[in-house]
Every structure is written in C-alpha cells, then in structure tokens.
Amino acid sequence: MNQIETNPFGYAEPIWERFTHPRHVGEFPAGTPGVVTGEAGSKAARSVLRLQLRFEGGRVADVRFRAYGCPSSIAVGAWIVEWSLGKTPAELAALRAAELRQALEIADDRAHCALLGEDALRAALTGFAATS
C-alpha cells in the first residue's frame, strides 16, 4: 500500500495504522506443511476474512491473511495474525472479540468486525484440531 499520511476520516489510530500498513498479506504456497486456514464472513455481508497460521513446535511460526471489507475488518485481520505469532493454540483460543475491540478501539457500530476476527480465528483452530 502506498503512502497515506493523513487519516481524515477519523478512524481510531490502531485501525488506521493497520489498514494503511498491513503486514503478512497473502497466503502460503499450497502444500506448505503445518498451515491451518480459517475463514469467516461472506461477500453478501461485505466482509470476508481469511487467516493462515503456520505452526512449528506447537506455536505459530508464521502468518498470512487476506481481507475484503471495511478498514476495521482489514485491521482486525492484520492485528490477529500479528498477535498470533509465537502463541500456542490454547493461547489463541482465549482471544475474545472484546479484547480485539479494545486493542483496535473498535466502536460499537463496528462490533461485527471484531466478531469476524474471533470467528475466523476459531475456524482456523478448528482446522488445527482436525489436522493434529
């Protein structure tokens, strides 16, 4: 993403920062070992979040995400993968939308973006449980 200096729309800074400078965008090459994928949302609801976590030794070693949706939902994706690094599945499972909302200063009318994140992560962990 190119340089966007200002935030005229008044998004919370943590959201704006991650929306404008997201890291870990993309996906792992097909067949990469230890990768689980979780997806939530729908095109009709205008937000889809896909997370990929690559586990090594029981901890998240690398991450990727893609998101379609408003800046808050994109920031949620970026935040979750960043936060996931180094964590165990048990630690990941503890994440609640409330924590996400607090970390990103997500307003009430965007609470669904945090739920989207929780759902996507849960989906990934379900995948992990299934594969391990």
Binding site: M1, N2, I4, T6, N7, P8, F9, Y11, F19, T20, P22, V25, G26, E27, P29, A30, E39, K43, A44, R46, S47, V48, L49, R50, R64, R66, A67, Y68, G69, C70, P71, I74
Partner: protein, 392 residues
C-alpha cells in the same frame, strides 16, 4: 488533496467574492433591501441586478425569479407550493426514483397528505423516457418533477422533449436544474418548463442561496411555504441576503459567459479520466455515456468494498454518491435504481470536475484510484483473478 467533488459544491469564484464584499460591511451597501431609505434602495438595486443575471442564464424574465435559501428550498417550494395551491385532494405527481433526496422526501411528505406519487424507474442507463412519463399521467396528475441532470451519475434527462408534451396536456412541469445550470444551455423562452430550481453553490456562487423560476406566461401559481411580510411577490418571505444574492447573480453571469468553454474543459477531463481508469478490468461506468453532463463520471469497481476504497484514497475528495446523503453510508439509491446491487453501488465513486480541475490532477487521481483498487483486490480473499499464490 485533489478535489473532484464539484458536484457537491464549488469554491467561490474570486470575482464573485469581489461582488459580495461591498455588500457586507459598514462602509458598503449592507442595508436591508426591504428598507425604504437610501441605503435600502441601494441594496435593493443589487438584488434586482442579480435577479436579471440569474434570469439571463436560463432565458427567463427577472420577474420570474424567486430567491430561496438554496435548491432544497426551491424544490420544496415548487412541489409543495404547486400541490397546496391546487389542493392536495386526489392530486397525483409523477417523478423518478433517481431524483435528489429533497424532491423524493418532499413527495413522500405529500403522500402522507394524501397525494398519490408515481416514482418512475429509469432504465439501466439512468434515463427516464418521455414516453414513460406520459404513460404515467392520469387525469389527476398536477405536476411532473424531473431533474435535468442527475447529480450522482450525470445523466441528462430529455426534459426539453418532455416539456412541450406536458404543456399540451396541461400538466405543470418542474425541473431540478441544479446540476444543469452553467453546464448545459438552458433557454426557458424555448422550453415550456413551468418551475425550475437552481442553486448558487454548484457554479462558484455562495452556499445558502438559490432560486426558483416561476413562469409568468402562463402563470405557475404556488402557495407560499415561508410565510411572512410577503416578499418575492408573496411567494417567499424573509429578509433578502443581499451579498448572497449578488454573489449568485455574479456567478450566473460568469457561468453564462463561460458556458461553452467550461463545458468543453469539463468534458475533456471527464473523458481523460474514464480513459485512464479503463486499464482496470471489471469496472462499470454508471449512466448513459451518450447522455452525459460534462462534469460527472460515476464508476463502480467490482471486487472492492466501498468504505475501504474511499478510506484508501484520503488524498482524493470524491463522493460515493450524493453529498447530501453520503453521510448515511447507505449505498446510493440512485445506483440501486439503476439495478446495481448493494455491494457494487457501495463500491462506486462519483468524480465531479470543475473549473479548477487540471489534466494533471485527473492523471494523479486516476493513478491513485487504479493503485488502490488493484491493492484492495489483491488484499481480498475472494477476488478471483490470475493472482499468483504467495506473499503480496
């Protein structure tokens, strides 16, 4: 910041400001134009000069111009005024689904008063055909209200063809010409429109002043909506805002002088912008390109979410629909009426160009939009393209 939202509002022309300034301060003609003393008469003269200037742009007589606080009021006055004068009982109005909010909301209000309203659905290209209008007429139809140029998609409606057909049938015709004035030639001597709304701030005049053209021959009769001292031939009371009115007059005079040059400049830049954007696959131009006003280009971008698209262009002042309704963040009802789904309507941008717009700005804006649309599609997990798997 690149400002491409001239259809929402324009800056004041510096020449207009020079006309306004002497009407404001203690050393100038600040008096109340209704006052019957020397300073009052001077202010009145400025008001009457402006009336003639506004009339001239649209081919009207000065005595057919009623000052208002803007086109929202002009539209309210035209529609409610005509209906209340005639009596709302059993009355019927024909309008379209792509009218400005202030026309639609006024019609909805009249529905609560018992008026029946037909909201015509334009074709996919945004055009309401005169034939559609004629078919919708009933013996009870009092008024047809149709805009000349749509503010979101820039489509030019066939009001000049429709007007004589309505006149023949004895149906009043109101036209919202806010986006047409100063962009297209308007000659009310030749086109039998009865009521026509204009606003100053869309053509380099001040915000907060507009006018309603009320035809004298044959006379269009209105019930006043602003009651008071009987200003403006009893049609609109309230102290006349001399500086605002004089500013509108000056802006309209300039618009008349520059009409052809402005239109050519705008259309050229609009075409350049559209040409540049077309490097993007799967984008859609909204509104019939064959009936396009020179200053508006509305484009839908598949595969990106609307709010993210707008947020990713903070250096670009564009609108995602009518400025008047974009605060609601709802997908544009105009694009919805054209058959765009919610998602696509939301992922649309209205670029509107003005006198201050340069080719360089258009190039920069196009480059930024292309870059951000490509990026958001890249970011999306559902955009199906020839994307190479792997890190972005």
């Amino acid at each position: 910041m690149i400002y491409l939202d001239y259809a929402a509002t324009t800056p004041l022309d510096p020449r207009v400001l020079q006309i306004m300034l002497p009407l404001l301060t203690a050393d100038g003609s600040f008096a109340n134009p209704a006052s019957t003393h020397g300073p009052g008469y001077k202010a009145r003269a400025a008001v009457e000069k402006a009336r003639a200037q506004v009339a001239a742009l649209i081919g009207a007589e000065p005595g057919e111009i009623v000052w208002t606080s803007g086109a929202t009021e002009s539209n309210n006055l035209a529609i409610k005024g005509a209906l209340e004068f005639r009596g709302v009982r059993n009355a019927h109005i024909v309008t379209s689904r792509t009218e400005h909010k202030c026309v639609l909301d006024t019609c909805r209000h009249l529905e609560t008063q018992g008026v029946r309203v037909t909201y015509l659905k334009p074709g996919a290209e945004g055009v309401v055909s005169p034939e559609q209008v004629l078919e919708a007429l009933t013996p009870e139809t009092v008024l047809v209200s149709l805009m000349w140029v749509n503010n979101e998609i820039g489509v030019v409606q066939e009001v000049t063809r429709l007007a004589p057909l309505l006149r023949e049938r004895g149906v009043l015709f109101h036209v919202d010409a806010v986006q047409a004035a100063g962009k297209l030639a308007i000659d009310l001597r030749a086109v039998p429109i009865d009521l026509l709304s204009v606003s100053a701030h869309k053509i380099y005049g001040p915000k907060g002043v507009g006018a309603l053209y009320v035809r004298k021959k044959p006379r269009a009769r209105l019930a006043p909506q602003m009651h008071g001292g009987g200003h403006e031939w009893g049609m609109r009371s309230g102290t006349l805002a001399t500086h605002q009115i004089a500013g509108m007059g000056a802006a309209f005079e300039i618009a008349a002088a520059q009409l052809a040059a402005d239109a050519e400049h705008l259309a050229g830049l609009r075409d350049l912008l559209w040409q540049r954007l077309q490097v993007l696959p799967r984008i859609l131009r909204n509104g019939d390109p064959g009936r396009a006003a020179p200053h508006v280009l509305n484009v839908s971008f598949e595969g990106v979410e609307g709010e993210a698209l707008r947020a990713s262009l903070p250096g670009l002042a564009v609108s995602s629909g009518s400025a008047c309704s974009s605060a609601t963040q709802e997908p544009s009802y105009v694009l919805r009426a054209l058959g765009r789904d919610d998602e696509l309507a939301n992922a649309s941008l209205r670029f509107s160009l003005g006198r201050g717009t340069t080719a360089e700005q258009v190039e920069q804006a196009a480059a930024a939009v292309i870059e951000q649309v490509l990026w958001l599609r890249e970011l999306s997990p559902i955009w199906v393209s020839d994307r190479v798997s792997g890190d972005a």
